[in-house]
C-alpha cells in the first residue's frame, strides 16, 4: 500500500507542494513577465501534475532495494525516471504556455523547471526510502519480540513437563512400602524426595545454573530411583572438574536422565548403568554426555524421543543454532550428547 495515500498523509504531502507553487510563480513572474494571478494560475496545474507523477515513484522504490547487489540498477532506474519526469514537467509547462499563445516567453525558464522537476522527483524517492527503512525496522522489532515470546513459552512448557507425576506416585508407593519394613529408609527417601522437589520448584524461576547444581539435581533424582530399582540401577559419573561452573539452562539434563531411567533401566531385567560425563570442548563450549544401557529387544519407539524433542526445542529457542543435541543407540548403549555454548547473558 502506498505510504502517502494510506493513513491520510495525502493532505500533508500536497501541503508540501505549496512552496513549489510559490517558486514556480516567482519564476513565471520574473522570466515570462506574467502578472502574479496569471502566474499562480499557471503554476497550479503544473504542481498538481508533478505531485501525481512523484507519487508514482513509490512503486519502483518498493521493488528496488537501495542497498545490496542491485544498487547500480536502482540508481540508474531512479535517475532515468527523474529525467523523464522532469522532461514531462517541462513539456507540460511549454504546452500550457503555448495554449495561451505565450509559448516563447517561457523558454528561458524551461532549464530551471527541468532542474526543479528532477530534484523534486529525487527528493520524493529519498522520502520513500526513509519510509521503507522505518517499516523494515518496525517489522524486525516485531519479529524479535515474537521470537522472544516463543522462546519464553517453550521454556515454560519444558519446565512444566519436568516433574513427571508417575515418578512421584511410584516414589510415594516405595515410601509407603518402606514404612513398615524399613522406617529409616522410608524417612531417607522422604527427605531425598522433598530435596529434589524443592530444588526443581526453586529452579524453574532461574534461567541458567552452574552445571554442578544441575548435576546435584540429577544425583538426588537418581538416588531416589536407586531406592526403587535397587541393584538394577548403577550410576557412574565422569565430570571434568573444570566445567563445574559452566552455566547451563536449568533442568536441561533432567529429562535426559529421566529418559535413561524410564527407557533404559526400567526396560532391563539385569542391572544396567547410567553414565553422565562432562568435558570442556574449548574455552566456551561444553559437551555433556548421558549414556545408559537398554534392552535391544524393545522397539525403537519405546526408547521415546519425547523428552529429547522438548530439550531440543528449548535449546533452539535459547541458543538458536549454536547448541546441539544428538542421540544414537550403539549396541546396547544409548547415548545422548549435548553441546552447549557459553550463554552470553551469563558470562561472568
Amino acid at each position: 500500500m502506498h505510504p502517502i495515500i494510506r493513513s491520510g498523509r495525502l493532505g500533508v504531502y500536497l501541503l508540501a507542494w505549496v512552496p513549489v507553487e510559490g517558486a514556480l510563480t516567482v519564476l513565471f513572474v520574473k522570466q515570462s513577465g506574467l502578472g502574479v494571478p496569471a502566474s499562480i494560475g499557471a503554476a497550479f496545474p503544473l504542481c498538481v501534475l508533478h505531485a501525481v507523477v512523484c507519487l508514482s515513484a513509490w512503486y519502483p522504490c518498493r521493488a528496488l532495494p537501495l542497498w545490496g547487489k542491485q544498487f547500480t540498477r536502482s540508481l540508474t532506474t531512479h535517475l532515468t525516471s527523474a529525467v523523464v519526469a522532469g522532461g514531462i514537467w517541462t513539456g507540460a509547462a511549454k504546452l500550457l504556455f503555448s495554449v495561451f499563445s505565450r509559448g516563447d516567453s517561457v523558454n528561458s525558464a524551461l532549464p530551471v523547471i527541468f532542474g526543479m522537476g528532477v530534484v523534486l522527483y529525487l527528493l520524493t524517492v529519498a522520502l520513500y526510502y526513509v519510509f521503507l527503512a522505518v517499516e523494515a525496522s518496525q517489522e524486525a522489532q516485531a519479529r524479535e519480540a515474537e521470537a522472544r515470546l516463543l522462546a519464553g513459552e517453550a521454556e515454560l512448557r519444558a519446565l512444566k513437563a519436568q516433574i513427571n507425576p508417575h515418578f512421584l506416585f511410584n516414589s510415594l508407593h516405595s515410601i509407603s512400602a518402606l514404612t513398615s519394613q524399613d522406617a529409616a529408609r522410608a524417612r531417607e527417601m522422604c527427605i531425598l524426595l522433598s530435596g529434589f522437589l524443592r530444588k526443581t520448584l526453586g529452579l524453574s524461576e532461574k534461567a541458567a545454573i552452574p552445571l554442578e547444581e544441575e548435576l546435584a539435581l540429577a544425583r538426588s533424582y537418581l538416588a531416589i530411583e536407586k531406592i526403587r530399582f535397587g541393584a538394577r540401577l548403577q550410576v557412574e559419573e565422569n565430570i571434568d572438574p573444570g566445567c563445574a561452573d559452566f552455566p547451563v539452562p536449568a533442568l536441561v539434563l533432567q529429562p535426559l536422565v529421566e529418559n535413561a531411567v524410564i527407557h533404559g533401566i526400567a526396560s532391563l531385567v539385569d542391572p544396567g548403568f547410567i553414565r553422565i560425563s562432562g568435558a570442556m570442548q574449548d574455552a566456551d563450549r561444553i559437551a555433556i554426555v548421558v549414556e545408559n544401557s537398554f534392552d535391544t529387544d524393545s522397539p525403537p519407539a519405546r526408547r521415546g524421543g519425547f523428552g529429547l524433542v522438548a530439550v531440543r526445542k528449548r535449546l533452539d529457542a535459547r541458543y538458536g543454532g549454536r547448541a546441539s543435541i544428538q542421540a544414537a543407540a550403539r549396541d546396547d548403549v544409548y547415548r545422548v550428547e549435548l553441546r552447549l555454548p557459553i550463554d552470553e547473558e551469563f558470562k561472568p
Partner: protein
C-alpha cells in the same frame, strides 16, 4: 486361593506381600520381576488371581495377559491411570493406582473373591483385538514356556490357519492363537495389507506382482516367497499405492 505377584520393583512386591499376609487363605505361589518369568510361571502354575504391573521389562502387563490366555483373574497395579480403559476392556477385576492403602486393596481383593466364587467364566477374547487405537509395535507369541517378541517392522507376512495365525519373520514362522482379522485390526493399515482372505503382507517386503489367473495375482516377496492376491486384495493394494 492362589495368587501370583508380578512387578519389577522389589518394594512394590513386598508391599503386596505384606497386604496379603493378613489373609491366611491366600497362597502366594509365585513372585515375578518381569514379563517372561510371569508368563512361564502362570503357564505352569495356573494361579486364581494375578497382581500385575503394567510397565515392566521385556513384556508389559497387557502382553503378559495376552500370552497367558483367557481364564485368569487379574488386578492391575500401576502408577499410571492411563491404562484403566484398556484394563476394563480386558475384563480386569480391578485397577489399583500406586500408591494405594489397605482399604483400597481389600476392596479389590473382595471383588476378586466374588468373581472367583461366582465361577463366572472370564470372557475369552483377551487378545490384542481390544487394543487402543494406537498400532502395535510388536507382537508377542508364546511357544510353551518360551516367549517370542516380533517387532512388527520385522513381520514379513501372516497366514490364517484355522484358529491360529502363522507369523513369518526373518525366515522363521510362529503360530499364535488369534484370528487374522483381529491381527489385521491392530496393524498399521498403511504398511500391512490384507491381500487375501488368508494373508496379510508387509508392503515393504513386496518386490513384484505377477498375474496368475483372470481374477488373481501373485505377490513375490523379497525372500522369494509367493503369496496369492485376491481381486479385492489387489484393489486394496492399488488404492493404497494410488494415494
Amino acid at each position: 486361593m492362589t495368587v501370583m505377584i508380578v512387578d519389577d520393583e522389589e518394594l512394590a512386591r513386598s508391599y503386596l506381600r505384606e497386604m496379603l499376609a493378613d489373609h491366611p487363605e491366600i497362597d502366594i505361589i509365585a513372585e515375578c520381576a518381569n514379563g517372561f518369568e510371569a508368563v512361564k510361571a502362570a503357564a505352569q502354575q495356573k494361579p486364581d488371581l494375578l497382581f500385575l504391573d503394567v510397565q515392566m521389562p521385556k513384556l508389559d502387563g497387557f502382553e503378559v495377559l495376552e500370552l497367558i490366555g483367557p481364564g485368569v483373574n487379574v488386578i492391575f497395579v500401576t502408577a499410571y491411570d492411563s491404562y484403566a480403559m484398556r484394563a476394563f476392556e480386558v475384563h480386569a477385576v480391578d485397577y489399583l493406582l500406586k500408591p494405594f492403602g489397605k482399604d483400597r486393596f481389600e476392596s479389590a481383593l473382595e471383588r476378586a473373591k466374588n468373581r472367583l466364587s461366582e465361577k463366572m467364566p472370564v470372557p475369552a477374547e483377551l487378545s490384542a483385538a481390544s487394543r487402543p487405537s494406537a498400532h502395535l509395535d510388536r507382537i508377542v507369541v508364546r511357544d510353551g514356556a518360551r516367549v517370542h517378541i516380533i517387532p512388527v517392522s520385522k513381520l514379513d507376512y501372516a497366514e490364517a490357519q484355522d484358529d491360529y495365525v502363522m507369523l513369518a519373520s526373518a525366515g522363521k514362522t510362529y503360530l499364535k492363537q488369534q484370528t487374522i482379522s483381529s491381527l489385521e485390526a491392530c496393524l498399521d493399515a498403511r504398511q500391512f495389507i490384507r491381500i487375501h482372505r488368508s494373508y496379510i503382507v508387509n508392503l515393504e517386503r513386496v518386490v513384484k506382482m505377477e498375474p496368475y489367473s483372470k481374477d488373481s495375482r501373485i505377490a513375490v516377496l523379497s525372500d522369494g516367497k509367493q503369496l496369492p492376491v485376491s481381486r479385492a486384495g489387489y484393489q486394496r493394494l492399488t488404492a493404497l499405492l494410488g494415494e
